[in-house]
Symmetry: C2
Subunit: 342 residues, 2 copies
């Protein structure tokens, strides 16, 4: 049996102006993971105030994941990786607290403990296959930070047998604010008194000082699941490559798949990144291009991924229901918002 696991958390890194598109209103960004969890769990909001949309009205990828769930019928599990606002979705605790801005000295002190608890959870879950997604605004910045701490992105080879090449950094914004991200990460290295590559083979260190609680939980959960013989699909883009790097740096060599969308693949060179991490790569096109509704924003390069969308799409493709995902997504958004208009 397949279970979809949503790892939902927050980092104050998302509050840096210009970093994230996850939420039209900056004050609502911290609600996004809580709302995404409710959408996937119930197909409705329960405690969260609004459906997360980008400033241009692009609906959250969680609506896509929910639409696939309504067609495919998989079971779900939400892990609290440091939620900052209430959610009506049931969650499992692993001791994670919201991450602070990575420009502080010790931004994610709960990361090592959450990793360990998530690893035990991953070992204990009875499922044959897990599809793991994340929802954490600001997460591509911390993912890039983690990969630089591990020694990727050309600064050091992450594995003894080769070079990781360039790490694929995507963005929820059409214009990726990559220079801003790099500056934030430079400041984070300085604040943590750590050098790029210094956390190679010490993944808990990387995620504690350059990362966020969701990455710690995803990596721990996946390591534990793989160790107990469970198949794992990482559903997502940049953050899931960072999670895969963390898992590999933890010494877990089992087969691992990253499933993402064509929108992330259009942004970056995923093949070489997947090869460097010894991951299988699955890229699914949800078919949002050329539509005259808000989903077209995805094809214009917005949102691109998140909340396990790429993983859910791979399940839709496997079950032959990919063709009805777009209409299903609009139905979810309309059901919750009353309309899906911009």
């Amino acid at each position: 049996m397949t279970r979809f696991v949503l790892v939902a958390g927050t980092t104050e890194t998302a509050r840096i102006e210009g970093i994230s598109a996850a939420g039209a209103d900056p004050d609502l960004v911290a609600h996004t993971p809580s709302a995404d969890a409710e959408l996937i769990e119930y197909g409705h909001l329960v405690r969260a105030p609004t459906v997360p949309v980008s400033p241009t009205g692009c609906p959250t990828p969680a609506a896509v994941t929910r639409a696939v769930r309504e067609q495919v019928g998989f079971e779900t599990l939400v892990v609290d990786a440091g939620l900052a606002e209430p959610t009506g979705a049931p969650t499992v605790e692993v001791g994670a607290k919201p991450g602070r801005d990575i420009r502080e000295a010790d931004p994610v002190p709960t990361a090592p403990g959450a990793w360990v608890a998530a690893r035990e959870l991953g070992r204990a879950l009875p499922d044959d296959e897990l599809v793991v997604g994340e929802t954490i605004p600001g997460g591509t910045t911390t993912a890039l930070g983690v990969c630089r701490a591990l020694g990727g992105e050309g600064s050091q080879p992450p594995r003894e047998d080769g070079d990781a090449g360039e790490f694929p950094v995507s963005s929820s914004l059409p214009e990726n604010p990559i220079d801003l991200k790099r500056r934030v990460i430079d400041d984070a290295f300085e604040a943590s008194d750590l050098d790029p590559g210094a956390a190679a083979y010490r993944p808990k260190l990387a995620v504690r000082f350059l990362g966020d609680p969701a990455l710690a939980v995803v990596a721990g959960l996946v390591a534990g699941a793989l160790e107990s013989g469970t198949d794992v699909i990482l559903g997502g883009g940049t953050q899931m490559f960072a999670a895969a790097a963390l898992v590999r740096h933890a010494g877990v060599a089992d087969p691992l798949t990253v499933a993402t969308t064509t929108y992330v693949a259009a942004d970056t060179d995923l093949d070489s990144a997947a090869a460097a991490l010894d991951c299988e790569l699955v890229v699914t096109d949800p078919g949002f291009a050329g539509r005259d509704d808000p989903l077209a924003r995805y094809a214009a390069g917005e949102a691109k991924e998140g909340a396990g969308m790429g993983g859910a799409l791979s399940l839709a493709e496997r079950s032959g229901s990919l063709g009805s995902v777009a209409d299903g997504t609009l139905e979810v958004v309309e059901r919750v918002n009353g309309s899906y208009g911009p």
Copy 2:
């Protein structure tokens, strides 16, 4: 769509010797609700140490509920109503903490807040129908206490239009320790400086001083669900009659069903209790009598109910799968324990 809600909590009232059969080893009793939640959610244990069994090897009613779920396929939600031990099941928080022994002065100070939060949750859940069950060792004693505080059990009429008659007090033990329960409740009234009947029409007061956190959460959740037009089946015996009384004393007059097992019905006069509370009564026989396996303990009067068993059985009957519940239950117990032998 139907959702099964398990309200899982603890009260230190269960630690009074002779009160409860929920757990063979007294040290494991506090794990029972956490284990029940995992069984229903996963059909396996994740963080809990063992499958709850009575001292004679009678498996927890949660195994029955899980077996029905595997046949009928309903969605689930676990609400944390004061769990005292870790669970790997995802839970929603409503601010409940473990209840203290009702012989203390203010045993459930979180009850009024948890009631309010659970009521909002009940209002917000998007489902057409909720089946609500509970798992809280010691819960029949607190249920009886609540009903006496509201004025039932012959001390005062609970509603202006009639007399509640005798409140149906069941037990997880074949020999109901009713005298012990009454003594504990007498002590509780004294400790709280409250008289029987003094909490009529003030249900939050009753549950705070004589009750437990699970009753507060069930009553709040059901009140909210009914107010928002959701159908509700209370799955259980004694505790669900107490929850129904709390809901009625909160002024909620909507139709309400109590679904329980023949084992509870054999213990007490449910018809008059249901009539007094203006509830429809559904009694389902799971067909465990005459078996040569541990389920026969149910027919001998053990366990009887719990973890929404009666509600789940009513769903099994509705879907025509009641005949396979017994074998399914043993399959669940065997899967988790390796065997179902005593």
